[in-house]
């Protein structure tokens, strides 16, 4: 079974704090995406990383793909209430029955 585990599952922080969300697997991914999902809506694509060690920045969000392409992290600097949501990682597995798998998600709440 291919798994994409995210940690932490839940995170509640104050506005202005920094945080990091992790996405880990024993599988190798040819690409990995991060999505944010708000209540009552579908996930919205934030970023795609493809190369091992790649770092991408999107305003206060920094995404990193592990060197071995088995893991990824999302770091948010100076979190704001608008960052509240469910963060999902998803990856294209190099091999396996189901090529694209989603992580179980990290639910973030940023308090004003």
């Amino acid at each position: 079974t291919q798994l994409l585990e995210q940690s932490p599952q839940f995170l509640s922080i104050q506005e202005g704090e920094n945080l990091t969300v992790y996405c880990n697997s024993s599988s190798v991914f040819s690409s990995l995406q991060w999505y944010r999902q708000e209540p009552g809506e579908g996930p919205v694509l934030l970023v795609t990383v493809v190369t091992g060690g790649e770092v991408k920045k999107l305003k206060r969000l920094t995404f990193q793909f592990g060197d071995a392409r088995k893991d990824s992290s999302l770091h948010i600097t100076a979190a704001q209430p608008g960052d509240t949501g469910l963060y999902l990682c998803a990856g294209e597995v190099v091999s396996g029955t189901y090529k694209y798998i989603f992580g179980t998600g990290t639910r973030l709440k940023v308090l004003a």
């Binding site: 009552g40 579908g42 795609t48 493809v50 999902l88």
Partner: protein, 113 residues
């Protein structure tokens, strides 16, 4: 606005009833998908299609059927609804497949009672 449109937004079904969840996209994407999302379980792939006339099973296809007669539309059919099918259903599309990420619809919340 361009994107993926799902209808209905909410639905309550009785056990044994059937229904079709509609999905249409106007981005000329070849790839379309149906997922279900259950609390704490992530997104599970039900069916997918790589183009008109081509469909294939995903991870959890039992109890569902799909068709893809046009590039734009990818309806999901539930036959003989069961309580285990209570979930939020998302349709998604992508340009060339996995590495490009998906565009999701806003979902259909289905309750089977």
């Amino acid at each position: 606005n361009a994107g993926v449109t799902q209808t209905p937004k909410f639905r309550i079904l009785k056990i044994g009833q059937s229904m079709t969840l509609q999905c249409t996209q106007d981005m000329n994407h070849n790839y379309m998908y149906w997922y279900r999302q259950d609390p704490g379980m992530g997104l599970k792939l039900i069916y997918y299609s790589v183009g008109a006339g081509i469909t294939d099973k995903g991870e959890v296809p039992n109890g569902y059927n799909v068709s893809r007669s046009t590039t734009e539309d990818f309806p999901l059919r539930l036959e003989l609804a069961a309580p285990s099918q209570t979930s939020v259903y998302f349709c998604a599309s992508s340009y060339k497949g996995l590495a490009y990420g998906y565009t999701f619809g806003s979902g259909t919340r289905l309750t089977v009672v």
